[in-house]
Amino acid sequence: MGEPIIDVRDLRKTFRVTERQEGLAATLRSFVRRQRRDVNAVAGITFRIEAGEVVGFLGPNGAGKTTTLKVLSGLLYPTAGEAHVLGFVPWRRENAYLQQMTLLMGNRTQLVWDIPAADSFRVLQEIYGVPDESFRRTVGELTELLELQDLVHKPVRNLSLGERMKVEFAAGLIQSPRVAFLDEPTIGLDVSMQSRIRRFVAEYNRRTGATILLTSHYMDDVVALCRRVIVIHHGHLLYDGPLADLAERMAPYKIITATLRDGAAATIDLAAYGTVTGRDEGRVTLKVDRQGAPERAARLVNELGENLADISVEDPPIEEVIDRVFSEERVGTAT
């Protein structure tokens, strides 16, 4: 493998924040003398991302995801540590670097509210110095992939949230970047728009080979797009590895779902096989120890015999795994 596209070593960012108690008196006190406190938003993280990868960056609110993206895109100076993206030090904000990257934020817009997006695209073309020929081709491709058509000719304020996000994506990709940082790209969108944005990101990555680092609160985004995830919490790296292994590493249990035949559910107590976590008519879900799962499932099949209509053994849902990770802060790296 060649040089990594993104190379982060022991990156740290500390913010100095002003603290204030509630109430007028406290506000006045704070007006005169500010109480300050240091917050370690990013507390030493290290990872590398190769060309063409789509990596999910996970963590609860305030974990340090956006801060990391801002450092990598060049908006923030880190307090310590190193980072290289495409061989550049991001926070030097060299034009050669900015030309090849994009930062898309789901909750902010760079489009001018009162004019059609097509006009904003022209301005971006000029800023990035994109030749007419490739500008037309890129806009044509983006229009097709995102189904923009007439959306770009309406003033942005007349677009729905989902439509605006699609146009926002197009605006962020006018310069055909080699690296894209996506911060909550599907936030606030309805389910079908979310899945369209996902399909677009996957297709864009396939067509252009762009490297993508994405944060999202929607696990569906991550499951659909990322084979690899990086999990951070309180600024520390908790996990870096394949999404498929996350459950195995982070959740030491499996879920057995047993469907019982009519009537049997009332008489059979399944608590002996594992912790009963759900019961819906004949369907019972059990949480069992990961290692013991095959043996428990076999016993269920043997002992329930005729009374068992169906049985499945699965990893817990990814949301549950993540939730568990964040509430327990287990440390482990899969590299």
Partner: protein
């Protein structure tokens, strides 16, 4: 060259936007005409009772008034809308986008928005200045060049001052009041800076150089600004531009976006 093309493009997109709201456009034009005719009227009434105001006769006063509207028009054409937008960007965190473009962020932010209709104010200002000039008639090529240079310096001074003021937004976020104070100071520029009492004259010439920005071009066009004065103005404007740009960069370092 690239920046000039960008500037033209910014101007065109904003023009398109204003043309969408025709009624608003018409009302703004009416407003400009009313304001300028009343202030010209006021000067005319004043000169019914006197022929000279501290060395400024009617012609010179009209030239000064014309310059005032040229400078103020420039401020309202591009600076006021751009700087207002800039402070909004700081508040909302959308300044991030400008910082991530492969071009001067200062340029992209501070010369980005236009109120195209203010070209009308500048045009009317030019008319008033020319009428005033007709009464003085000392305009040779030397004065014309000196005037153009002094006017550009006036624009640069106003720009530098606004840039320095708006930089405080990086620390205090809301500084609308500060800007309002500035605009009211600019109003003082419609009279020659030397008619004001000493302390105010010093303020208007140094800390808030609106007086200089208006008075000196008017003096230049009426042949009352010598080469030395012009040189001081040019050097001063360049220095103001460089210092305010440096200050802006210092401010930028404290900018962390609306949420980090």
């Amino acid at each position: 060259m690239r920046y000039l093309r960008l500037l033209a493009l910014f101007f065109r997109t904003e023009l398109q936007y204003e043309l969408e709201y025709r009624t608003n456009l018409a009302l703004e034009i009416v407003q400009i005409v009313v304001i300028i005719t009343t202030s010209v009227g006021a000067v005319l009434i004043l000169f019914n009772y006197t022929t000279v105001l501290n060395g400024w006769d009617l012609g010179a006063m009209l030239v000064l008034l014309g310059c005032f509207y040229l400078v103020q028009g420039f401020g309202e054409l591009v600076l006021q809308p751009s700087f207002e937008k800039f402070m909004e960007h700081v508040r909302l965190g959308t300044l991030d986008f400008a910082l991530l473009k492969p071009a001067s962020a200062q340029f992209l932010v501070t010369l980005r928005n236009f109120q195209v209709v203010q070209l009308g104010q500048m045009g009317l200002g030019a008319v008033v200045a020319i009428v005033g000039l007709g009464r003085i008639s000392t305009l040779g090529p030397g004065e014309a060049v000196a005037f153009a240079v002094a006017l550009v310096c006036g624009f640069v001074l106003i720009y530098a001052l606004l840039l320095a003021l708006s930089t405080f937004a990086f620390w205090f976020v809301r500084i609308d009041n500060l800007m309002a104070i500035y605009w009211s100071f600019l109003d003082a520029g419609r009279f020659p800076v030397d008619i004001y009492p000493g302390w105010l004259r010093v303020t208007l010439s140094t800390a808030v150089p609106v007086g200089v920005a208006v008075t000196l071009p008017a003096q230049a066009i009426s042949g009352r600004l010598d080469l030395f004065g012009l040189a001081v103005l040019v050097v001063g404007s360049i220095a103001a531009f460089i210092l305010s740009s440096l200050f802006w960069r210092v401010g930028l370092r404290s900018y962390t976006g609306a949420s980090a």
